[in-house]
């Protein structure tokens, strides 16, 4: 008798339905899995056999053939175990129930218990879109499943519970639906802007950057608190909307980085890969097409400490995602789109030894070393970094360390307001922040008065700015004007924007 059981496999963030067809036939005892299964799936037959046995059922001593359809899609991971086991039980007549339109997800342990799997949230979302309404998932995954609307999710601890449910012996109750409520940021992050002493300029630059979604670069001697400042970025970013949280959770779920306790990612991610990171780890890839650091930072911050130390190829690979907000990872095994919309925050020293430009410490670098160090960050990449700001060395911080600055909460409220203005302005343009503006949008939304044009022109001549700096300055000026609630960009906005550059 042939049994069909439905399950899902993930390709990138997209779930693909897989029909597990099990046939138990006469012949020499065998257990065959066909249908483009990867190693983890191939191995699952051993887990399934043992789990069935240890759940008090029998593995048929006949020829068992399992087909994973459609056969031309590569199936990955261990989430197919449960469907396989249910299929075998059904096919051998040990379970008689209507399981059509029920999606089974879960990895089996040898003792028959169900283990946590990766990627439940994206799977449920994909399946819901295709009209499936009923799901069986491992108990450990129920938190992340509880945020999906309009479906019935049953969570089970073991294969026995699943069988008992369908045989009517001990029905499971659907899990409780959670409504998304953004948590107060105070409890989400372990740092706060008020803890950063001094650094008024850098803090202001931080607020401008986050308000307009601009990427930024901190330049300063080692040990001046660049990392600390960067860590504060998520704390002043606008609250995550449900959609954003869902997108981020999907990626983290696929990567297996979801914390049990939350089920959904409430806090904006802060990713800070070490400078030895490879290009693939940054962009995503490898044979299994996993998301990279830039996708894990989606809706959050990608912090590159000591930016010039990263390999050239790694840095250059950021250019296209910075432009488009997503990345297409293409490998022999397939091609996957991951979102990658993040604020890039870099930090660098003024020179390899860190003392360049300081009046009281001698820089020991040769001019060639310094220009080589600076040239590591290419012009096209620098073009995507609208704000460059110098971070003060400690002595100034000590001087002004007495006053406690604003808290992240206070700043975030202003950021929320500024972001709202931008959302309203760009509602028909397909972008959300000032940083996303192209030349077309700049022309449309950043009309400059003659006075402003004159200032920009004299700035070029006097400060020897590159022509590329023009649109950067205008975009940042637009954000500052938004922060000040001005419709038009005024001279002082241009002038403040001018000061966010590294000389």
């Amino acid at each position: 008798m042939i049994a069909k059981v439905l399950t899902y496999t993930l390709i990138g963030l997209k779930g693909v339905p897989v029909s597990v067809e099990v046939d138990v036939n006469n012949g020499l005892p065998a257990f065959e899995v066909v249908g483009l299964a990867d190693t983890a799936v191939k191995e699952s037959k051993e887990r399934v056999r043992t789990a069935i046995k240890n759940s008090g059922r029998q593995v048929p001593t006949r020829r068992v053939t399992i087909n994973l359809a459609p056969a031309d899609i590569k199936k990955e991971g261990s989430s197919l175990d449960l469907a396989l086991a249910v299929g075998v039980l059904k096919s051998s007549g040990q379970l008689i129930a209507d399981t059509d339109r029920v999606v089974f997800l879960g990895e089996l342990s040898l003792d028959g218990s169900l283990r946590r799997i990766n990627g439940v949230l994206p799977t449920l979302i994909s399946a819901t879109e295709e009209g499936y309404k009923k799901f069986i998932i491992p108990k450990d995954n129920e938190k992340e499943a509880s945020f999906v609307d309009g479906i019935e999710v049953l969570s089970a601890k073991s294969l026995t519970e699943v069988v008992d449910h369908f045989s009517g012996l001990n029905p499971l109750t659907p899990i409780e639906k959670h409504d998304y409520k953004s948590k107060s940021a105070k409890n989400l992050y372990d740092t706060d802007l008020s803890l950063v002493k001094g650094q008024t300029v850098a803090k202001r630059a931080l607020e401008v950057a986050v308000s307009g979604g601009h990427n930024l670069l901190f330049v300063g001697a080692p040990g001046t608190g660049k990392t600390m400042l960067a860590k504060c970025i998520p704390t002043i970013m606008p609250d995550m909307t449900f959609q954003e949280a869902l997108e981020t959770t999907k990626i983290h779920s696929v990567a297996g980085m979801l914390k049990d306790s939350d089920g959904i990612v409430f806090s904006r991610p802060f990713r800070s890969p070490h400078h030895t990171a490879t290009t693939v780890s940054m962009t995503g890839g490898s044979a299994s097409l996993r998301p990279g650091e830039i996708s894990l930072a989606h809706n959050g911050v990608l912090f590159l400490d000591e930016m010039p130390e990263y390999s050239r190829a790694t840095l250059e690979s950021l250019r296209q995602p910075l432009e488009d907000g997503d990345i297409t990872v293409s490998r022999a095994s397939g091609s996957v789109d991951y979102p990658a919309n993040f604020i890039l925050c870099g930090s660098m020293n003024p020179c390899p030894c860190g003392n360049y430009g300081s009046s009281d410490r001698e820089c020991t670098c040769t001019p060639a070393q310094i220009s080589k160090y600076k040239a590591k960050i290419s012009g096209p990449l620098l073009d995507r970094i609208d704000i460059q700001v110098e971070v003060d060395s400690v002595k100034y911080t000590e001087l002004s360390g007495q006053t406690l600055g604003e808290t992240s909460e206070q700043v975030r409220q202003r950021v929320n307001r500024t972001r709202l203005i931008q959302k309203e302005r760009f509602k028909n343009d397909g972008i959300t922040t000032n940083a996303d503006m192209g030349e077309k949008h700049i022309k449309k939304y950043c009309k400059l008065s003659n006075e402003c044009e004159r200032i920009l022109k004299s700035t070029y001549e006097s400060l020897h700015l590159s022509p590329r700096a023009r649109s950067r300055i205008i975009k940042v000026a637009r954000t500052i004007a938004d922060m000040d609630l001005y419709d038009d960009i005024r001279p002082e906005h241009i002038l403040e924007a001018v000061s966010y550059r590294h000389s």
Binding site: V201, L399, S462
Partner: protein, 365 residues
Amino acid sequence: MYDYTKEQLCIIWLDSFLGLEYKHKAQILEGVNNTSSITAFLEQSKDYLINALGENVYSTLKSSANREYLEFILNIYKKKGITAITFRNENYPKTFKNINCPPIVIYCKGDTSLLNAKNLFGVVGSRKSLNSSLALTERYVKELIKADFIPVTGIAEGVDAKVLTTAIEEKSKAISVIAGGLDNLYPKQHFDLVEKVSEKGLVVSEYPPQVEPRPFMFPVRNRLISALSIGVLIVSGGMKSGTLYTAEYAEEYGKDLFVVPYSAGVISGAGCNDLIKRGAMLTDTPEDILSFYGVESSSEELNLSVEEKEIVNVLFSGEKHIEKISSALNKRVFEIMPTLSVLEIKKVVVKNGNTYGLTRNDLED
């Protein structure tokens, strides 16, 4: 051929041998007069060559003593637009005649008439200078050019490059004396800069083009900068800076030496202060130099707004961090940032990190 006299050709021929030391070349040239050809020239100096350097050297030179070799090197110079000027040329700088080891041949690219100009003024400084020193350089050079001086400097990063770029911007002539041969710039990335300088001004080297710069050549080169100029301005320099050689030579050759002072503890200014201690003229505004030479300075009126004036007043007591300026004025930091940018554009203040300082001291009422 090539607009050189027979005698000059012999000198250029001799100077092209890199293996011959300066003292030998000078010795040979002393004993030789009125030569009609290289062979004759070699014949005249045969005794000295064999006595001092041996038979081998002589025969090597002899094998190159022909028209083909000479044409070969002259062709190279011509192709690269290099004029070789020997110490017996009319336009050889008169100021070089009385210095230690006057160059036998100088290799020039550009307007060679500048070599004997009376209005050359040396401006040099260290490679790693503060932003404020660079701003100061720009201001001095602009004023000097306005007063019809032609700046003379080296080619390094920092102050030297600033002198040259400012001169180019002001569409003025400038002289750059480089340490190695004209084909071997150090730093290499200043190739374009040298090309631009040679369009209107002059680039000079005392070595044939193919010579690579070696560390000892840099201080030696500095004697030429000092020799050419009527006066020298030292903008910045640490205790061990090569700039100090320029100052030393300037003193030795009796040139007017102007030095910019620094506050205690600034590493890139320690050498400057030392020079002042030893009697160099202190200057902190271009007018010092101009009035020394009796030139009227025509400084433009600076129109500062009330806000700008406020900030300038705060900065009179020295460079300050932006937070100190803001607390002194009782304003938020981002409220004064636009005004600081204006002052920066007007070149009244210079930014170093988040610290701002005045570039001039003539703003007090």
